[in-house]
Point group: C2
Chain length 369, copies 2
């Protein structure tokens, strides 16, 4: 009986492990390792005698700064370092000024400087361009400034304390960077591959729509089974793309990417793909609308439409692959040529069907719907 | 000369003030006030003798927890409180366990418990449902646990220290809540009004598109001047909507909103509006495409189209207003009636123009384009 339950537990664990995302596991283990490394500052006696209670700041730094993407970690760490230095420096200035102003004057100087820095820096955090890049740094700036200037009234050895804390934050940051670069998870790679995957998603959606349309035409039974979740995820990718690009800008030279990688172009491609996704979604709206043409008419256009759909999907896949592999898209001119032929085929077919000036009607109809 | 430069400065300041966003200014000033209030813990002698250096934690809490929206502040504060209590409790347990395991055994217990908690909690932070609601709390949990368990090997009065820190964090949080409820900025209100505004934006875009189409028809000069930035901002509103709804769920009863406000419905409306925005964007694509119908044909459909566009825009505005004022949409049935009439008018007009079975062609064309 004990053995059976043991097997149960193993299979249960296996299930859980199967559900785990390997990248997330790597990140979690890295955080664990970084934590243990930084705990050594406390645990090993010779180290502890050197750093003292300030080792706390190294632990705090590791937990707060360590992020999923290496770029995000770097950004946060650098922000924290600069914010601490600037805030500490300004705080020291204000504290010495307060120290020389007597008891009541000093309290006034502290209060006024805290409120001015607090209000000004908080406002700057709400400005989009600052928020995107330096939000965390400004927060740490306010934090350090307030702590230094307020406690400066009490502690005399403020400079020594600041130096010790800073070196501890530096140690924490060093541990972060060190661990972060073991099996690094690059935001740049993520953006790269997610951009390439978007092409595939859109291609699948287009094919799905066209198949659906002609299945409806044949079966005469409406099933709204077109899966456009891929399309929607592309349409809503703007904010995640932007944050990835933001992180990627902080990442050092690695793997396929040089320093001056065109992240802006990735964002532009994303924007265009989002528009395409929007069109596919409204295209599905047309397919699912109540008013539809007769099955015979649909059958007439079936072949060229399916061809075009296939070409479109192939082109998109091809483009996605070429971005993924960072190669020149080999079939580009060929495919556009093929597309043009098929479009004219479709128009001809249409014109043969109905004798009147069909093209303008098509334009008209495309406006009305 | 001094006077002139003084006037210059005043006008410069005026310019800056004109650019400021009043809500952001209110938020910044509130943060400043909260900072000064919490600094009093340090500045006033009797208070400082009671709280000691732990007053630092109150300041840190204020700076880290105070967010733009009241709901976000509440969420972060409650997360911080729960995370601190849980992490501190578990940390104390582990620390006493380590204390009883001898020197080397104790270090092992500390190391292993830190790595297990660190890895497990970090992984849970990456799970979307946890990330959305408790990300900050879990981070504070890891932070507190590590600090307590690691320093527990050294400090004996860990419980007393933990109690003092907790009370200081509580004080900081109390100051945050107090200041946050002066001129509160509710995420719920923001979501409410932004949802209502979306209707207006879409209405403007639809009208813009239709005007543009017939101006092109008349002038024969193509100008791609349709402003669909409103549409795009609606299309990309998903993530900001979701975070607003997330904050709104933490907000207490206030103003127009009860406790059980249907935030999910707001998200659903947003989703539908995003689809509509997608359709408008692809509609603009049709208008700007190369293949267009002749000006005379366009003139034929001009009147009904403009009527329909106007009705659509009016309905959207009406819906937006009814959401904004939380009233029943008064003109609902009337307007849908009017819409139906005009649609049939359009179809009739079309059928008169070309004798063949036009409706099916329209359906066909709507598929092709």
């Amino acid at each position: 009986k004990t053995k059976l339950s043991f097997i149960d537990i193993v299979s249960f664990l296996k299930e859980i492990i199967a559900k785990l995302d390997i990248k997330k596991v790597i990140h979690s283990v890295k955080v664990g390792i970084a934590l243990v490394l930084v705990s050594l500052l406390y645990l090993l006696d010779p180290l502890f005698q050197k750093v003292g209670q300030n080792a706390m700041w190294a632990i705090i730094t590791v937990i707060v700064v360590f992020e999923f993407f290496t770029g995000a970690t770097l950004r946060k760490g650098i922000n924290r370092a600069i914010g601490t230095v600037l805030g500490g420096g300004l705080g020291c200035l204000a504290a010495t000024l307060a120290d020389e102003s007597g008891e009541i004057g000093g309290a006034l100087v502290v209060g006024i400087s805290v409120i001015i820095i607090g209000v000004g820096a908080t406002y700057s955090r709400l400005i989009p361009s600052v928020k995107n890049k330096y939000d965390y740094g400004v927060m740490i700036f306010i934090l350090t400034f307030s702590l230094v200037v307020v406690s400066g009234v009490r502690a005399d050895k403020i400079m020594k304390l600041a130096g010790e804390r800073l070196s501890n934050i530096g140690m924490g940051f060093a541990v972060c960077i060190f661990t972060s670069f073991i099996y690094p998870i690059w935001a740049g790679d993520e953006l790269h591959f997610s951009t390439a995957t978007k092409f595939d998603k859109l291609a699948t959606s287009i094919q799905g729509c066209i198949e659906e349309y002609f299945v409806i035409a044949n079966d005469k039974e409406k099933k709204a089974t077109i899966d456009i979740s891929g399309c929607k995820s592309v349409m809503h990718s703007k904010s995640s793309d932007e944050s990835l690009a933001n992180f990627a800008k902080w990442e050092p030279w690695h793997g396929k990417f040089g320093f001056f990688y065109p992240w802006e172009k990735y964002l532009n491609i994303g924007e265009v793909l989002r528009e395409l996704a929007a069109m596919i979604i409204s295209f599905r709206g047309c397919i699912q609308s109540v008013r539809q043409s007769s099955p015979t008419e649909r059958d007439n256009i079936r072949e060229p439409c399916e061809k075009i759909g296939l070409s479109l999907a192939t082109i998109l896949m091809e483009l996605g692959d070429s971005i993924r592999d960072m190669k020149r898209c080999r079939a580009k001119s060929l495919i556009t040529q093929c597309m043009r032929e098929e479009l004219s085929l479709l128009v001809n077919l249409d014109n043969n069907n109905n004798s009147t000036d069909h093209e303008s009607t098509l334009g008209l109809a495309s406006f009305i719907f």
